[in-house]
């Protein structure tokens, strides 16, 4: 089913949900300032359901928005909040639930089988044109531009996270839009960036990360947008224990980024939001992917980005062979 058809279905569904009072609000996407831009919207009035949009520009992972509106946070009755969920939103919701920041009945999930979302930056760079609309078809994306239609392959214009996406369909939805045919992976995470980085010498790698972290403004956007960074009080803002100094000298920058990466190690769902929101374009997913790949290889977890009840880095296991250490000793 096309996104356009699903959009109609979505609007009807949300209207019904709000009218019947099944949900106390709905988080989805609405029209942004430009045509090729969809932004998150909160809807509480059934009449506003018409504002909802479902097009190839709904790439943001919006699951974390529900945290601001949980009954715990706002002290309301336990009526769920509705949310539109792609595969990555589904993983992010699972992460929040695994971390017990969300109860399953806090949310009413309207899911759909996502076939990838367009990266506006890539399109701008490639076409240099104002895009007014887009349509997915098989391996291609057809754009409407001021100079007529242009077609790009998905490889050229989808978000990186979509090109690495193996879970396009969210699990545990209350409603699934469209028909769920062709639910196979959209892409594949090949960890190519990690391999490139590992090919560098330690000195070169250090210089690489120094160049990246030097730019950091410490705006905390990467933390705020991350569904795995969901603590009520962030340790980096602890007033009693100064884990992180306020100044931006390099050692503090490293401290911040390593702490962030290690706090999401084994917990990152791979949605790529941290990297998307970074105003100075630090390739944060490289760090996340490095940890993901190591967890996959060292602990034999084939899908390290999928939240699970016992996590490889979060379990006491007396049988833990600590094979890596023995290997180190032999080497």
């Amino acid at each position: 089913m096309s996104l356009k058809n699903m959009e109609n279905q979505l609007i009807a569904e949300v209207k019904e949900l709000l009218e019947s009072g099944k949900v106390r609000g709905f988080v989805g996407f609405g029209r942004g300032y430009g045509m090729a831009e969809s932004v998150p919207v909160f809807i509480t009035d059934a009449l506003d359901a018409e504002k909802l949009v479902l097009d190839p520009f709904c790439g943001m992972t919006i699951a974390k928005y529900v945290l601001e509106r949980t009954p715990q946070a706002v002290g309301q009755t336990r009526r769920p909040l509705g949310i539109l969920a792609k595969g990555c939103d589904g993983l992010a919701l699972a992460r929040l639930m695994r971390d017990r920041r969300l109860q399953p009945d806090d949310v009413y999930v309207v899911g759909f089988n996502c076939r990838g979302m367009v990266d506006a930056k890539k399109v701008r760079a490639r076409l240099g044109l104002k895009v007014s609309g887009a349509r997915l078809e098989g391996d291609q994306v057809h754009f409407e531009t001021a100079e007529g239609p242009v077609t790009l392959s998905k490889d050229e214009c989808l978000l990186d996270k979509c090109l690495a996406c193996e879970n396009p369909l969210p699990e545990d939805c209350q409603v699934l839009l469209g028909d769920d045919q062709d639910t196979g992976p959209v892409g594949h995470r090949d960890y190519a960036g990690v391999a490139n980085l590992e090919a560098l010498s330690p000195d070169e790698r250090y210089r690489f990360w120094t160049r990246q972290f030097e730019r950091c403004l410490r705006c905390f956007a990467c933390r705020n947008v991350c569904s795995a960074c969901n603590c009520i009080t962030c340790s980096l803002e602890d007033r009693e224990v100064e884990w992180l100094g306020k100044d931006t000298q390099l050692s503090e920058q490293f401290m911040f980024h390593f702490t962030r990466a290690y706090h999401v190690a084994g917990r990152c769902v791979g949605c790529g939001e941290c990297e998307r929101v970074c105003p100075v374009e630090i390739p944060l997913m490289l760090l996340n992917e490095k940890l993901m790949r190591d967890i996959r290889d060292l602990f034999g977890v084939c899908d390290p980005h999928v939240p699970r009840e016992t996590e490889p880095l979060g379990e006491f296991n007396p049988e833990d062979p600590e094979g890596w250490r023995e290997e180190d000793e032999r080497a």
Binding site: P71, D99, R100, C231, T233, E240, W243, H263, F316
Partner: protein
Amino acid sequence: MRRIGVFVCSCGLNIAGRVDVQKVTDAAAGIPGVVHSENYKYMCSEPGQNLIADAIRQKRLDGLVVAACSPAMHELTFRSAAKLAGLNPYMVQMANIREHCSWVHRDEEQATAKATDIVRAAVEKVRRDQPLEPTRIPLTKKALVIGGGIAGMQSALDIADAGYDVVLVEKDATIGGRMAQLSETFPTLDCASCILTPKMAEVARHPRIQLAMCSRVTQVAGYVGNFTVQITQAPTYVDWEKCIGCMDCQERCPSRLPSEFDRGLGKRKAIGVDFPQAVPNRPVIKADHCLYLQKGRCGICEKICPVEAVDFQQQEKVWEEEVGAIIVATGFDVLGAEAFAEYGYGQYPDVIDSLAYERLNSSSGPTEGVIRRPSDGEIPKEVVFIQCAGSRDPDKGKAYCSKICCMYTAKHATLYRHKVPDGQAYIFYMDIRAGGKGYEEFVQRAVEQDGALYLRGRVSRVYEEDGKIVVKGVDTLAGENIEIAADLVVLASAVTPRTGARELAQVLKVPADQDGFYNEAHPKLRPVETVTAGVYLAGAVAGPRDIPEAVANASGAAAKVAVLFSNDELENEPLIAAVDESKCSGCLWCVPVCPFDAIEEKELIERVGSKEVTRPVATVNAGLCQGCGACSVACRDGAMNLKGFTNEQILAEVEALCLMTGSPE
């Protein structure tokens, strides 16, 4: 502002030989908050401790840094000294300038600088220390002993004699364990039964010992002083309350099976006891071989039992016991046939292991003590003993020495010569390890008086030819290959932990080493304790042990239990984890990382605006927490802190180290 005292120990020359202790003492005096610093030759000695006590009183110290050895060595010593002088013992911090510094560095200048840094970090920690008070918990003065071998029996008897109740859990139908299988014992050659069976009877008779036979410990909850143990008893199909032990059933039972007790060399009945001296002397039915339980016919035992004790309907029984301490004495197994393809074990009937050889020697064994080889019952004239079968052999996964084999093989060769005077015993060995009272003399006697021929070398192959077992090996001392056509080959198979020991270790939350032997809390100073408070070790569960060692161990563990039970309440170590509920996000990642199941979920009620809302947070069970700190590491928001090792303290220490005054450029 704290008034901190720094006490730098020379430890004879252990520290002073590499570190300029006076320099360290002077540097410490310059750290803000340090009002006293001094050096002494042996700070742990009585004069040293007195120095500390005097300084606490005279300078009104409220924090101490003792720059000396590892806290594992003397932290308790100095805490006690501080307590005696009126200071809270948790205001003492060890700065390890011995193991971490003087012992591992060559350059005096750099070692001195590093020692200064270590002291500086410790001062920063003490500055943030808070006085801690132990909590008190009641305890159940009843012990559980797991395993009814010589070690378990000894522990049970000692604890019971001290006046406390004991539950002795044994997986088999009789107590006695491995020792009951032995014929004679080294180095005195007194018969195992003669010294064991009276003890077995004593255990059974003791009013304070309750036996749980055919039973296993399947669950353990709680903590030192307050364990709840689940015991699962397999059905015996005989009501032991009614049974009078006449053994008519065993007499008449038509079903025979190889006796596990006799290592498969003899037969037993489907109903009966393992051996005539079994305690309790009550029969069990081996369900797999009982014609009635398998096929529904026979039932002779039920018909002839004079007291109607046979009960084919009997079910597994599960119950719980409340105990205050647990002694694990599960003993050992020996490496099985699968490990010895090259020795033909399991393939040729005349290649046996040493436990089987013990049964051949035993007057109550399948051959009534006459050495006969299993294949044809002939008396073997040439016997080859192979030591280190699996032991000291990393290829078999056993790098360790099984310790008892040198001695029992010498015993086997001696007994063989006594019983077959014209026979010849050959022993392939790697080294002879005979450390123990009278042990070396015993081995010498085997060689000099009883003609055991020791060949230093390993066996490469064992195969059958013309009714003989041909053993090919090398004598490395003579430098020649050797081939012996033997009648019987005996393998001194590696000692391993009991099957199921690993699973039990998990139930008890006691760490085991790579070989599955349980870890002592400290290999030298706390050899019968484990890191789990209230769980103790006796005998071969912690590594290969001979009988005197196992018995000494068992009495040691029992003494520990008696000391524990001499208290009416237990003081709980206050160095445990604590949750700051305001910071806790309730993700409960701390729960699965806790090795002691000490963390639970709790509903916290909070006010948000005008409404009350609940949210989950973590909470620590003070009785279970052992203060390992795994939770505080797993806690991302810093809500979990280990008292005495708070995040704030550790960061302060790191910060102090980062200043690194003495670091080489």
